[in-house]
Symmetry: C2
Subunit: 213 residues, 2 copies
């Protein structure tokens, strides 16, 4: 049975998964890179950008993100900062020529545009679809492998609200962003659907593992 998974998704202690004021230069707005600092230290991240990196508990969570994943679903603002109709289709997202996904990626947007085939196996598809419909497309594309819900917070929250997530790794970073987009709004009783296991890391992060009951 293939699973729907969330990985390495990080929130501040006050619950924000991204800051205020997203722009081309600041994908996380005023949060900058602070939410993902624990991830930048892991071997999984370092190997995308050279070598080295830690192999402890942060890495044990980090390295799980892409194993057996056959497709990703992401919100439009994980692809780029644009709002409204696309004005520049030449720009191909924050993820570089060879994005780290290496699978089909379904970008949720009310403004569909032609798919973009990148190097390394990543193809961005732009779809205006409900969570359930997007998941059906991604599941078909994943061809028996799992589907990752890649974020951002609005997307993860929508899939949680629709009860479409099987397991989820959330890292809680010891930060107070104060403003931005919160992950947890409107999810009363989520603990009834998931077993939740917290574990702390020397990096200061608390990793939460959610497993569907």
């Amino acid at each position: 049975m293939s699973e729907v998974r969330v990985h390495n998704f990080t929130v501040s202690l006050d619950g924000y998964a991204t800051g205020e004021g997203q722009s081309l230069e600041s994908p996380f707005g005023h949060a900058g890179g602070r939410l993902m600092e624990w991830f930048f230290g892991t071997r999984t991240f370092r190997e995308m950008h050279g070598e080295g990196g830690g192999t402890g508990v942060d890495e044990r969570f980090a390295c799980d993100w892409n194993a057996d994943v056959g497709a990703e679903i992401m919100g439009r603002h994980k692809f780029g900062p644009q709002r409204g109709p696309w004005t520049d289709e030449q720009w191909q997202g924050w993820w570089g020529d060879n994005p780290p996904f290496h699978t089909p990626v379904f970008v949720l947007t009310h403004h569909p545009r032609p798919s973009i085939e990148m190097k390394g196996g990543t193809t961005f598809h732009f779809v205006d679809a409900s969570p359930a419909r997007a998941l059906a497309m991604a599941t078909e594309a994943a061809d028996g492998r799992d589907v990752r819900i890649g974020g951002g917070p609005t997307t993860v929250r929508q899939f949680l609200a629709a009860d479409l997530v099987d397991r989820m790794h959330i890292a809680v970073a010891p930060l107070f962003l104060g403003r931005g987009v919160r992950l947890w709004d409107g999810l009363e009783g989520l603990e009834q659907r998931f077993a939740i296991e917290p574990v702390t890391s020397p990096s200061g992060v608390t990793h939460l593992s959610f497993t569907r009951r």
Copy 2:
């Protein structure tokens, strides 16, 4: 040097420290007793109500709450559910004839009323005062011992915003309350003022220790 401390204050994973709909029968509103379940299992709690109770990490945090504390400051809704002018001064709060504080307790309210002397050394004083002014009164009453900020969330948040807290123990319970009163609103950058150490407990709670830098 005496310290200003917060203890055993519990929030849900989505950041609520109390639920919606507080009433005489439901001090935590729709949250019921769920936030404090980790505490109900500790020896510190059990000894107030009989005997027994765990002695592990939950108890290590729980038992610290009253040592060297000479006064408490609490919000009005930790005393009782009334809003506006007091209509029944006969009712003496949720804490019974012999409240567990055994010190002066300053209850913040815009509606002062005469102090109430209870059994066991607890006296409730009702004061309409800013956090700084209330702290000055409590510090004097504590006579060299520490002052505890007892809650609820609005009170703790006000004292944090005014930078009047020296150390703080927050327990994060694996619950999603969805509604109620949040603790963390408007505290951007709090991590710059406090070292934050998380530790998990077998009860499922994550204990956060905040120590002023």
